[in-house]
């Protein structure tokens, strides 16, 4: 078989393979959103196969969120760790899937890491909640007002003491001596006031049981921020759910984190924040709750979880119970009628409703604050997917806005175009007709490269585009090696036919060597790299490999046609 025939066969074959490789990408990309949704619903397997065989755009090009989470498995026994990580992965997948994200990538990496890629996602906060939320739902009883009051008193005095000790150089240094002297007296006075509040029947939510005109505000750095100190049951018993303006949130968080403060919070009691802020009387507020630490009921036993709206339009999540769980819940509720119990999700309080009666098979979680229908839906999703077996933490996050992505696509497109033009112009001028042939081969090269990437379902990233452009420069090398060799042979006095043959023959080893070295580097980058680096490695590897084929077969085919010429334009 002649060299020419082989060239034609290889070229035709490559074109056919490329067209087949492009087919799925073309089908997928020509679909609009509604057509995609229809396909996802009617034939999910077909859709998956389309996606697997299509060119993906990396998050840096289409926008989206990439996170890496670490499962905190160090406290688990060795043999349970791998299983826990896999379960975390599956739970995250179940949480993300109902969102209808196109092609999320969720995979484990190393021992304890999970990569979650959400193309096209914009809402960072929700993504973090869906991915990183443990979704541990617990029911805890609210602490009594007395216990809470004692703790609040102690917090007030230690914070004041700490501030006086360390912060005296900063502000109001003149007031220090005076205030520390009055601290003890004030303490006593406060206690009396509080007790009367507690015993008295007027602990309405509009009354601040900690409001105390006799003590200066500086003496109560903690309780002076309270808007209301309690909520009141039907029997007029106050319970410690404390409302505070959002403007004080940072300060309260700081106070509660202080080691001195943590010491005075009695064992068995926890202080937790509300999940969301709320608006009350035109003021943004949040709540803190004093709860008994003991978990009375777990969220795992809930069934038929459904987001809904209650009569007042508030967001709720309904659930049902059966069997032993139902009995347990029934006894818990019947023993605590008129007491509030807090519904705690991942250590934040959704709400703390009063138990009005025995609940056995049907219950409702009221989402407090400014909860939206979406929040309720999210709670339904995470409760259905189940709690993560271990806590996770987000250790890496990449977020690319859609504008930046399309900007990058434009830049990548522009630079590819300019790169192609410059190279073709350069070799066209330098090698004349032969250069133009090499330029055509370069276009084939680009076409095959993109087709192979599409067929392999490779991801195109910005560094990947850089790899393509770099490949354009390097791909010419094979032709340059051949052309230079042919020129040498021509200069040595050979005729066109034997110059072409000798040129190809002698350049062969150099071409293989030069391409293989670059491919080794690209392979190493792929093996050890991740994300963007891999995108670069794939395009470089494929690009250089393909250029070997195009130079050897396609340009040779053109040269074979020119073998009978008297002179060669090179």
């Amino acid at each position: 078989m002649g060299k020419q025939k082989v060239g034609v066969i290889v070229t035709v074959l490559m074109i056919i393979i490329s067209l087949i490789a492009f087919r799925k990408t073309f089908m997928l990309w020509s679909m609009d959103d509604s057509a995609r949704q229809t396909l996802i619903q009617t034939d999910p397997d077909e859709y998956k196969s389309l996606v697997a065989g299509s060119m993906r755009l990396g998050l840096d090009l289409q926008g989206g969120i990439h996170t890496v989470v670490r499962a905190k498995i160090e406290n688990l026994p060795e043999n349970e760790r791998a299983d826990a990580v896999n379960r975390v992965k599956e739970i995250i997948r179940n949480r993300v899937d109902p969102e209808g994200v196109y092609e999320p990538i969720i995979q484990t990496q190393g021992v304890d890491r999970i990569i979650v890629d959400l193309p096209g996602w914009k809402d960072e906060e929700r993504a973090e909640k869906l991915i990183g939320g443990t979704a541990r739902l617990e029911f805890k009883m609210v602490e009594t007002m007395e216990t809470a009051t004692q703790i609040i008193r102690r917090i007030d005095s230690v914070v004041a003491a700490v501030r006086d000790r360390s912060g005296s150089d900063e502000a109001s240094s003149e007031a220090v001596g005076e205030s520390s002297e009055t601290a003890d007296k004030a303490d006593a006075a406060d206690n009396k006031e509080l007790l009367s509040e507690l015993i008295g029947d007027q602990a309405d939510t509009t009354v601040d049981p900690f409001a105390d005109e006799t003590t200066p505000e500086e003496e109560k750095p903690f309780s002076s921020t309270f808007l209301y100190g309690s909520s009141v049951s039907r029997l007029n018993v106050p319970w410690p759910t404390i409302t505070i303006p959002v403007s004080e949130k940072k300060e309260i968080q700081r106070i509660l984190k202080m080691p001195e403060v943590q010491k005075v919070i009695t064992k068995g009691t926890v202080v937790l924040f509300s999940t969301r802020d709320a608006v009350e009387n035109n003021l943004e507020v949040f709540k803190i709750y004093f709860l008994k630490d003991e978990v009375r009921f777990h969220g795992e036993d809930l069934e038929n979880i459904r987001a809904n709206r209650d009569q007042t339009g508030g967001s709720v999540v309904n659930f049902e119970l059966s069997g032993r769980a139902a009995n347990k819940f029934a006894s818990l509720t019947s023993n605590n009628i008129d007491k509030p119990f807090a519904i705690v999700l991942d250590d934040k309080v959704e709400s703390a409703p009063f138990i009005n009666g025995r609940i056995r098979t049907r219950g409702q979680i009221t989402l407090g604050g400014t909860a939206s229908a979406k929040d309720a839906k999210d709670l339904e999703t995470v409760l259905k997917a189940g709690a993560l077996p271990v806590d996770v933490e987000i250790i890496e996050k990449n977020l690319i806005g859609p504008t930046l992505g399309s900007d990058s696509i434009k830049k990548g497109y522009e630079s590819s175009l300019w790169g192609l033009l410059v190279v073709i112009a350069f070799i066209g001028i330098y090698y004349r007709l032969s250069g133009v042939i090499a330029g055509i081969a370069l276009l084939f090269n680009l076409f095959f490269l993109l087709a192979f990437m599409a067929g392999l379902g490779a991801t195109l990233t910005m560094p990947g585009i850089a790899g393509i452009i770099l490949t354009l420069g390097i791909a010419v090398d094979a032709n340059v090696l051949i052309f230079e060799r042919i020129r040498e042979e021509l200069r040595a006095g050979k005729n066109v036919r034997s110059a072409i043959d000798a040129g190809y023959e002698r350049a062969f080893l150099a071409i293989v060597d030069s391409h293989v070295t670059t491919m080794i580097t690209a392979a190493m980058l792929y093996i050890f790299g991740s994300g963007a680096v891999r995108g670069f490695a794939v395009t470089l590897f494929l690009g250089v490999g393909i250029s070997l084929i195009t130079a050897w077969f396609i340009t040779r085919m053109f040269f074979a046609l020119r073998k009978n010429y008297k002179t060669l334009s090179i």
């Binding site: 090398d477 093996i527 470089l540």
Partner: protein, 308 residues
């Protein structure tokens, strides 16, 4: 026939005293930079140190000084702030914060964003992108980069050793290291951040530089068959470099032209990356001619044993 250079007869090996001096400076600088990287004193990107990088655009005009004072006020004295020039707005900024012992990347990201929201309450800040690397991730990436470098070098050495001989492998590896170190050294002097992408560029340079070297070696081997006597080794090498010179230059020029295009059109992400490639192509071309081949020549003249 249009030619950049005609038939040349340059005494490349003879000029080695000058070029070796230049190369020694490059290598010394590169080793210094490498040690600094090892000691964590170089300008390492957040990929390796951990930290956060946020790019965003303000709705209304903001001066870089005002932004800096807000960022510093939040406790990030070491932050790098860059005002990005673009067609649409002057108010796009890139803020980079490296992780410290107390504040990891994830926390820094949260704290920085709330500081900006608070500090510019009369303005809105739209986050265009965020890249946050928590503790332990940086370490993993550092390790991976290290192994990628080692594996590439070993792979290349192995390939050259079986294709040519051990000497060829060593000489080519020296030239390759020379290029990578030179670019690293220049980057160190220019105080450019060493990111994952820069390491990728350095490895690409290694592959590219080797390509150049290998083509010349191929020619040396071919020409050695013509020069039978041992004394003619150096002329054979010189002839080989001269014969392949136009190929070396043309390929370097095409590659150089595409990476230059990338430098100007590729945008912020690829800016330093393409700069590394530009330097790498230039230095790589220089080294295959002036480093790899002379090393073989010297080795051969001291310890004669035919290069294969």
């Amino acid at each position: 026939m249009f030619r950049i250079i005609g038939k040349t007869d340059i005494d490349f090996i003879g000029s080695r005293k000058i070029t070796f001096a230049i190369s020694s400076v490059f290598i010394a600088l590169g080793i210094y930079a490498f040690v600094m990287v090892g000691l964590n004193k170089a300008n390492m990107g957040i990929d390796f140190t951990g930290g956060t990088m946020i790019q965003g655009t303000f709705e209304k005009d903001v001066t870089i000084d005002r932004l800096r004072s807000v960022v510093e006020g939040a406790g990030f004295g070491g932050a790098t702030i860059q005002q990005l020039q673009s067609r649409d707005t002057r108010n796009t900024f890139l803020i980079r914060i490296k992780q410290t012992e107390k504040v990891d990347g994830v926390i820094a990201s949260k704290r920085l964003q709330s500081a900006i929201v608070e500090g510019f309450s009369d303005n809105t800040f739209r986050k265009d992108s965020e890249h946050t690397i928590g503790p332990s991730v940086g370490e993993t990436l550092r390790k991976d980069a290290f192994w990628a470098i080692i594996a590439s070098v070993l792979g290349i050495l192995f390939y050259i050793a079986i294709r040519f001989d051990f000497r060829g492998g060593v000489a080519a590896t020296i030239a390759t290291f020379h290029d990578v170190l030179a670019v690293l050294g220049v980057f160190y002097i220019l105080d450019i951040e060493i990111t994952l992408l820069i390491v990728t560029a350095l490895l690409t340079i290694a592959g590219y530089s080797l390509t150049d070297t290998v083509v010349i070696y191929d020619r040396i081997r071919e020409n050695l068959k013509k020069f039978r006597k041992k004394a003619e080794f150096v002329p054979a090498i010189d002839l080989s470099i001269n014969e392949t010179l136009s190929r070396t230059l043309i390929t370097s020029l095409t590659t150089l032209s595409v990476v230059t295009v990338l430098f100007f059109f590729g945008g912020e992400v690829l800016h330093d990356f393409s700069l590394a490639l530009i330097l790498g192509v230039i230095i790589g071309t220089y080294s295959s001619v002036f480093v790899a081949s002379p090393v073989i020549a010297i080795w051969e003249s001291r310890f004669p044993k035919r290069f294969k």
